[in-house]
Subunit: 149 residues, 2 copies
DNA sequence: CTAAATGCAAATGCTTTGCAATTCC
DNA sequence: GGAATTGCAAAGCATTTGCATTTAG
């Protein structure tokens, strides 16, 4: 956590921005939780921890954390913006269960390599990529099959 | 085009819905154009072809086309919903250039296979997947490098 | 001290919806 | 004829923004 905070502090300093209590609380709340989150969820978790921080401030802080490489927007065909913290994690992709909403992260080296190859083939300079697979997890697939029959 | 229209007609009939001139125009407009589109773009193209169809109707029609498997929502980290028509095309993934906004579709059998393998490994029953790569195309990368230097 | 940050409330922009009039089947 | 569809305008929602006030450095 110290490393994360330092990273964010350096980033802010380099841009002439301030490390405020609000930003500190947001950062801590995000990194105290594993999994994906959206603005509303984060807002409510902060409230529960007695941090009454306005949504506006959250909306203004998240892009800073993204630019600093601490969090990332995830995307699986949902409406609201979703984020997850990525500092210290290797890039991974996601499987999203339509049944229960569960999100499972996975990393497959071969897929990563192949993507690099494809980019070379097309002379495309990749910055980042996202792979999302939608379907049913084991449990939901069982239910689904039974309901169908 | 006849095949597409028939597919849509059967779908509508099977759901007790109607094939209206508006739906016909929307369908034709979508399939007369290659590439990605959003509601506003489609609305304006329809206008230019003297079809004054309200956005509400477009918003109500697109989900039908999605359910019918004629179009698909694409997703590359943009805000507005984006679609592309998919009937008669094999599934493909996308590369999105941050510089010029160009979207290039590609299909890589190996990646498709690997994804199936990953799903098996996790006992996940995939319905669909989306892979988006963000970066710079050849031309924009050149500019980008020069500006940086 | 002073530029940056905060919270509020208003504004924005995409999408959805209620409703009366119309149209397909 | 009657359920489905349309267009309009209003409503919804997530997100952004202007502004007066507060605060970090």
């Amino acid at each position: 956590m110290i490393a994360i905070e330092d990273k964010f502090k350096s980033y802010l300093k380099s841009k002439g921005l301030k490390f405020t209590p609000e930003r500190e609380a947001i950062l801590k709340e995000i990194f105290s939780f594993h999994g994906h989150f959206n603005v509303d969820g984060l807002y409510e978790r902060l409230l529960r921890h007695n941090k009454n921080i306005s949504r506006a401030t959250i909306y203004r802080t998240l892009p800073l954390l993204v630019k600093n490489g601490l969090i990332e927007e995830t995307f699986h065909c949902q409406d609201k913006s979703n984020y997850e913290h990525i500092f210290g994690h290797k890039h991974h992709d996601h499987m999203l269960c339509i049944g229960c909403g569960k999100v499972v992260g996975f990393r497959e080296e071969e897929i990563e390599k192949l993507q690099e190859m494809v980019c070379k083939k097309y002379d495309f300079h990749s910055i980042k990529h996202k792979l999302g697979i939608k379907g049913y997890c084991k449990e939901c697939y069982k239910k689904f099959k039974n309901n169908k029959a």
